[in-house]
Symmetry: C2
Subunit: 240 residues, 2 copies
DNA sequence: CGCAAGATTGAATAACCTCAACAGCTGTGG
DNA sequence: CCACAGCTGTTGAGGTTATTCAATCTTGCG
């Protein structure tokens, strides 16, 4: 690894470590795994799942670890994280209530899962999950649809990362967090999470948001509470 | 559309049309839909599919059109295309033999499908496809696995587009086209397709490939036939 | 040959990143 | 209560990467 890096530096492809890596902290993963009784959830999966809780910043699963469980988010927000060898990070998805993690995996998790807020998850042993699904056609159909929507979301994000400007990315991102019928946006994640999701730096995220505010397209109570005052402008920028 | 664009230009978020749009041609979609007898394909789907052929540059489906068919590639290479309103383009995936198109769709195709080379496809009416799948659990499992791998590929590409440099993107791309055990790469697509897949311009793609050649990491017979002479260097750059 | 399309190369520019400083908030301890 | 440290977010200056614009080269084809 270090030798490859050195070789590259002599041949014109060296790359400085991004500044964001210096300020980011990865808290240790002391999983509590508190198992709680969970009555009254509909569906055939309820018996074989456990309820588990994690605190803000806890690591639920690391990328590369054996994929033993499937998780379903009950409450809270999490991030699905991928890392390059030198620490550059991408967040493929923010997970909220109803989202699954660990379904479309091979033997190992291809991305990590980390709690952004305190959260509650249902955890299913993967082999039980699969056999149960095969027995229940309706649940299988539902899950198939879920994966399809997730693929569509990924492909949508590909276009954003491949072809949109920083301002367009932020506009798309903010609008995607709008609740139906409200102009209030609450962002549970910090700027570095947003930056790593949109393929930008925290500084660029901050500057674009400042510019939106100066244009009076948004107003802010604090860094995580945003009101969209000119949705048409943002929609024109997002353009999709 | 035009008004939104004008409004933006007065407010500091205007964006010039990318140069690549000027040189790119979108051939008319005169679909031939030649139906050909196709004997001897294994699986329960063979009866309800038609074999259709398309020539280089023909449009199979446009993004936004009603998703009536599922396609399976028999031979040739195609591209799954998404466009922004101003013409910026992204290619989410290059499809080759065995790949499906149209499975994970809602009512409409979310991306277009265009033939890069002359190609042969199996075409299935979508409703028949679904009902057949529900009747055949093994085929359903297989397709589920296929979608999962596709989602994994998309997420992998997200990291590439979000966090990798131009040289790293090209290295990853070239290596992904290596056939098992061979150092010869044959690229069926042109530079603008590569650029739109990797989120770059044709000029940048060209420059990086030139640099690889100058470093003697690759050699080229012509623009589409590349021999990898230093796979270790490319692998170190791709870093994944 | 002459033309068209794709590919390459060069020079100048723009967008975004890096580095650095600072502001605001929160929790801790005296 | 205040001082302080640590962390997140913001802002400014300057640098780097990839883009834009433009010219040239290559290849295939009538």
């Amino acid at each position: 690894m270090a030798t490859a890096q050195a070789a590259l530096q002599t041949e014109g492809f060296q790359r400085a470590l991004p500044a964001s890596l210096r300020t980011r902290s990865y808290p240790a993963a002391h999983s509590t795994d508190a198992v709680v009784a969970m009555p009254g959830i509909a569906g055939p999966l309820q018996q074989l799942g456990q309820t588990v809780r994690y605190q803000r910043s806890e690591v639920v699963e690391d990328a590369g670890d054996p994929a033993e469980y499937v998780y379903k988010v009950v409450s809270g927000t999490l991030r699905a994280v991928r890392l390059l060898a030198d620490g550059r990070r991408h967040i493929a998805k923010f997970l909220t209530a109803g989202d699954y993690f660990g379904i479309a995996e091979g033997d190992d998790y291809s991305s990590g899962l980390e709690a952004i807020t305190d959260c509650t998850l249902m955890r299913y042993p993967r082999y039980k999950f699969q056999t149960t699904l095969e027995a229940d056609a309706a649940a299988g159909r539902q899950l198939f649809g879920h994966i399809c929507r997730q693929l569509e979301a990924s492909n949508h994000l590909l276009l954003l990362l491949g072809r949109k400007t920083a301002a367009e990315r932020l506009a798309s991102f903010l609008l995607s967090f709008r609740q139906h019928g409200s102009s209030e946006i609450c962002l549970p994640m910090c700027r570095s999470d947003i930056a790593d999701h949109l393929g930008l730096t925290i500084e660029t995220v901050s500057r674009v948001i400042t510019k939106f505010r100066q244009q009076r397209w948004i107003s802010m109570q604090d860094a995580s509470h945003i009101r969209v005052t000119a949705p048409d402008k943002l929609e024109a920028l997002a353009a999709n």
